[in-house]
């Protein structure tokens, strides 16, 4: 009893001092590091100014980076040691240990509860779509979820209501598949060309090109659709002939989406290129024989995203084909099914069935290639 009391009494004072010590310690440390950096920068500038050759400068920079890193870590170590000596040891560690286990259990349980609730929220709409797609008794929107009568009628209706050549669901599905495959292939080639060039080749106008595309990206893409639609219309690539037109437009500007794969190419060491060049390869051979074989993750990421884009695109597709059902993709076709009050009542469950059929392949594909997608997304966000 007595011991515990003592601990409780002495604790606050100790914690406070410990806090203060840590604060002072880090403040002093940071200041010293900053000072060091500033000095270093000035010195580096002088050294750089004194040499003329580019390679020499690069070497100096590299050397300086390593030196600076070492110096900084020295300072950090020094202050860590200082801190370890000056901190009052012991007392409050024991107290924390006692409650640790029960605390962790409570914490984990809360997390599990939150995650389970989230799972429910996240899956709920998808489960609903699935259930409603099997509902037979009515095609309306209804106030309950679980069907009273189960069956495949909606799926059968999707394919039988209209023949392939009149633009039924089968036709839309086929259209979307064709568009997605072509776009995935061509767009991947274009994006790889663009990002490889911008990442690994230094040429005149490179910075300008990148800035220019950055500025172009700030215009809302919606604007250009109007004119692209008119141009496609003049070329006869709308409505029932919309598929080549759509592929053309999706692919044409895809070079602007080079950021993620450029980030990937940036991380490959430059010595690879140099070694290959030494062995007598020209730039093209370096690209095809050295870099491409190493780029499997980014190629798959680009293929996947390029495939998913047109698979779910609605806006431009509806612009280009909104009358002729033979030229629609699934998004436009399905949206058409439920576009008005009347058609909702007639087609609601069919829409759900169509949605399920569209979602299943892309979801399976995504799950298989999830690893690559995650790599790409994280890399892209970190490297900007």
């Amino acid at each position: 009893m007595e011991k515990e009391k003592k601990v409780v009494e002495t604790n606050p004072a100790q914690e406070k001092t410990a806090d203060q010590i840590i604060k002072e310690n880090t403040a002093l440390r940071d200041a010293e590091i900053k000072e060091l950096k500033r000095k270093n920068e000035a010195e580096l500038k002088q050294r750089l100014a004194s040499t003329d050759s580019k390679e020499e400068r690069k070497r100096i920079k590299e050397q300086n980076k390593v030196d600076l890193y070492n110096q900084i870590s020295e300072i950090k170590n020094k202050y860590n040691d200082l801190l370890a000596h000056s901190l009052p040891s012991g007392a409050n560690k024991d107290k924390r240990h006692m409650g640790m286990k029960s605390k962790r259990i409570i914490g984990n349980t809360t997390i599990y509860i939150i995650l389970i609730i989230m799972t429910f929220i996240w899956l709920f709409p998808f489960v609903c779509i699935l259930l409603q797609s099997f509902r037979v008794e009515s095609t309306h929107m209804v106030g309950y979820i679980i069907p009273k009568q189960w069956g495949f009628d909606n799926y059968i209706n999707l394919f039988t209501k209209k023949a392939f050549n009149d633009g039924g669901f089968g036709r839309w599905y086929f259209n979307t598949l064709i568009i997605s495959i072509f776009v995935a292939l061509i767009q991947t080639i274009i994006v790889l060309c663009m990002s490889y060039t911008l990442s690994r080749i230094r040429f005149k106008g490179r910075k300008f090109l990148m800035n220019f595309m950055l500025i172009l990206g700030m215009f809302p893409g919606m604007l250009t659709m109007i004119i692209l639609y008119r141009v496609l219309k003049d070329m006869g690539l709308t409505e029932s002939h919309a598929i080549p037109g759509l592929i053309l437009v999706y692919v044409a500007s895809s070079g602007m989406g080079y950021y993620v794969s450029k980030g990937f190419f940036d991380t490959l060491p430059k010595s690879l290129d140099e070694a290959a060049r030494v062995d007598g390869a020209n730039r093209a051979q370096v690209f095809f024989k050295v870099i491409l074989p190493l780029s499997k993750p980014i190629v798959i990421y680009t293929l996947l995203t390029a495939f998913m884009g047109p698979w779910g695109d609605y806006i431009f597709a509806t612009y280009v084909a909104h009358h002729e059902e033979t030229g629609m993709n699934v998004a436009v076709g399905l949206q058409n099914l439920i576009s008005s009050e009347q058609s909702i009542n007639a087609n609601y469950t069919m829409f759900c069935a169509g949605g399920v059929l569209v979602a299943i392949p892309i979801t399976i594909l995504f799950m298989i290639l999830q690893k690559y997608y995650v790599e790409g997304v994280t890399g892209g966000a970190v490297k900007g």
Binding site: I22, P125, P220, G221, F287, L334, G355, I362
Partner: protein, 684 residues
């Protein structure tokens, strides 16, 4: 305002620090503007100087040029053809011919009409042969505007090639026509003449003999050139191989040694943490040492290759030239060719020869490989993005709308700034647009802010939860959340919008079981604006969290775990660990991403359009402005305007331009105050 030094700043308390930062921010604003103006001024000054330099250069090249160069000013590519660079020359020439044909046949016609955008519309007349009315089409403003922009692009491209052609001429002349070369050539000619006049009995060799001689020469030099390669190549390959082998062996040796040392060191250490640290440190230092070795050998190897390429190509070229010359000699006869030979050596000492066609082609895959790779993507961007954007910017200054985009009227014309006036109502514009514009702009910014940051923090929170030690089934949780990314939005969002619709089952439940009034509406036309907006933001969380979770997971894994360990030892609780370690790290790393995501949300067409379609409507605006609603963003409004009966493309373009201005201003500000501007080269 007083600026603090770092130490002074550190002494401030939290509140003072915050105040200081805010104050610095506002104090800095005038300087930004100043910098901006200076930058703009600099840009124009630089552009002026550039243009001046170009013009002077063009003029000087003409003045100093020989007749080939001068003729190239009119017949593009002539100089290159005349100097033996056939490939370049003909490409230039073909481009010029196409350009002239296009301009004469079409381009001029379109550009001439750009001022008025056409004067004669379609008109109907009675055709007695067919006994019906027929429409005859004349000008079409849309086509005039589009093709005149295309023609201007073409002209710019032609001017660029023209200038390139002149530069090529200047370079070629620099190489060929140095004064020393010219003088030598002259001297040579004079001497030959001199020799011929002093030896009237000199005879050129007859044809048969020349043929034999040439065949002999060819045979000899073919053998020589063939003999050049293997020897050199073998030696070179051997060198490279040796270099690689010794590099590999040195690295292997280093690794071996390091392993032994590390083992010994580890034996002396007892705590697990220190061991970990030692291993980590060792890894790093080993990496540095290996990199050093690689660099050393890489330098050597690139030296070899440089030497090799230089030597081999150089020798080959020399042999070729010799052969060429000897063939010439055979035609001239010995005495004259001796004279020429003497001068040839002198001329050769003057500099390198011109780039040949073959070298041109080879460089497409080598030094000019970036042009090969970029040609297709950049062309696509220019035609399908740049051109439409130019077009739409220009449309903002016309009266282009559905009324003049039909079969009976397809003429529109320039109206100056009238559309901007209509939208912003600075003078006497209509109220409909300006009222809606204020409302929608405000909501766009609010939406972008909340959509970005709610997703950001909640996504990070979820990632931390899933990654916590002791949580099982990590993969399963992640996979479930990621479903919203995998399933196309037009399915998931459309379905969710139906769930929340006035006749959807969520509302039915609320009415049946929770006694909510049947008039209540989430996202229908009868909804309260704030309810609809809140619903949209909440549903967006459902869509957006998974992305952020993935990103945050990747980044959180990179935070060194000893940071947390030492924080725990120092007594930091979970919240302190989060605010002092996790959050600063995340913010630092994802700064640029936050900006792009903010802008992406400002233009987040899919979520709004598929969920609400903009409903509920803004009351007093009406159909003329495309029936905007309280949840409309600027982009969805823009889309609606183009889809409405009036189809006011001009107003849509104005909104588009304003969106661009807003986005670029925000980006500029953020880029200016963001701490983490990265250097690209850091990664390689």
């Amino acid at each position: 305002m007083k600026t603090y030094s770092d130490l002074e700043y550190l002494r401030l308390n939290k509140f003072q620090k915050f105040l200081y930062k805010v104050a610095r921010f506002f104090v800095g604003i005038p300087r930004w503007f100043l910098n901006l103006f200076i930058a703009i001024g600099n840009f124009f000054a630089k552009a002026g100087i550039y243009i001046k330099d170009e013009v002077v250069d063009v003029f000087m090249t003409f003045k100093n040029g020989d007749w080939k160069t001068r003729l190239s000013y009119v017949i593009v590519g002539f100089g290159s053809i005349a100097r033996g660079q056939l490939l370049r020359g003909f490409l230039f020439l073909i481009f010029e011919i196409i350009f002239i044909l296009y301009t004469a046949l079409y381009g001029w016609y379109w550009i001439a009409q750009m001022g008025t955008l056409g004067t004669k519309g379609p008109y109907k007349y009675y055709d007695p042969d067919w006994d019906t009315y027929v429409t005859k089409y004349y000008d079409d403003s849309f086509k005039i505007l589009l093709y005149s922009i295309l023609s201007i692009f073409f002209i710019v491209a032609f001017l660029y090639t023209w200038r390139l052609n002149i530069k090529q001429n200047a370079i070629a002349q620099d190489i060929l026509d140095t004064p020393a070369r010219k003088a030598l050539n002259k001297e040579c000619k004079a001497e030959v003449k001199n020799y011929l006049s002093s030896h009237p009995d000199y005879k050129k060799p007859d044809n048969e003999a020349v043929k034999d001689e040439i065949a002999k020469i060819n045979e000899k030099y073919d053998a020589l050139i063939a003999g050049l390669k293997p020897d050199n190549l073998k030696a070179y390959k051997k060198m490279v191989k040796e270099n690689n082998a010794s590099r590999a062996s040195e690295i292997a040796e280093l690794k071996k040694q390091n392993k032994v040392e590390l083992k010994q060191q580890l034996l002396t250490i007892e705590t697990k943490q220190e061991r970990k640290k030692l291993i980590k440190d060792n890894k790093q230092s080993l990496g540095e040492r290996i990199a050093e070795i690689e660099m050393k050998y890489g330098d050597k190897a690139s030296e070899f290759s440089r030497d090799f390429n230089l030597n081999y190509n150089h020798e080959k070229r020399e042999l070729e030239q010799e052969r060429k010359f000897l063939i010439k000699c055979a035609k001239d006869g010995k005495e004259v060719s001796d004279i020429k030979n003497e001068y040839r050596k002198k001329v050769e000492a003057c500099g390198k020869p011109l780039v040949s066609d073959k070298q041109d082609l080879e460089s497409m895959l080598d030094n000019q490989f970036h042009k090969t790779l970029l040609a297709l993507p950049v062309t696509g961007i220019v035609i399908f993005t740049v051109l439409p954007i130019f077009f739409m910017i220009l449309v903002a200054f016309t009266n282009y709308c559905a009324a003049n985009d039909g079969h009976f009227n397809n003429l529109f014309t320039w109206v100056g700034l009238e559309n901007f006036n209509t939208l912003l109502n600075w003078n006497t514009g209509s109220k409909a647009y300006s009222a809606a514009f204020g409302e929608i702009l405000g909501w766009t910014l609010i939406w972008a802010f909340f959509a970005t940051f709610s997703n950001y923090f909640l996504g990070m929170f979820v990632a931390i939860m899933i990654n916590k030690k002791g949580i099982k089934l990590k993969k399963v949780w992640r996979t479930i959340l990621v479903l919203t990314i995998a399933i196309p939005q037009f399915i998931s969002l459309l379905y969710v919008s139906k769930m929340f619709a006035d006749n959807g089952f969520i509302k039915a439940w609320l009415v049946n079981y929770f006694g909510v009034s049947p008039k209540f509406s989430f996202i229908g036309d009868a909804a309260e604006p704030w309810v609809a907006r809140l619903t949209v933001i909440l549903i967006n969380i459902w869509i957006g969290i998974p992305y952020l979770m993935l990103i945050a997971t990747g980044i959180l894994m990179n935070i060194p775990s000893d940071l947390y360990e030492s924080a725990q030892i120092d007594g930091a609780n979970v919240w302190q660990q989060y605010t002092k370690i996790t959050l600063p790290y995340m913010l630092f790393v994802t700064g640029p991403y936050l900006l792009t995501s903010f802008i992406g949300n400002m233009n987040n067409f899919n979520v709004i359009y598929l969920l609400t379609g903009g409903a509920p409507k803004i009351g007093d605006v009406g159909g003329a402005a495309g029936n905007p609603g309280y949840t409309d963003l600027l982009v969805t409004w823009l889309f609606k305007i183009t889809q409405s009966d009036g189809a006011y493309y001009n107003m849509a373009s104005v909104i588009g331009i304003l969106v661009f201005i807003i986005v670029s201003v925000i980006s500029l500000i953020v880029f200016n105050i963001m701490p983490s501007t990265r250097n690209e080269e850091d990664y390689q």
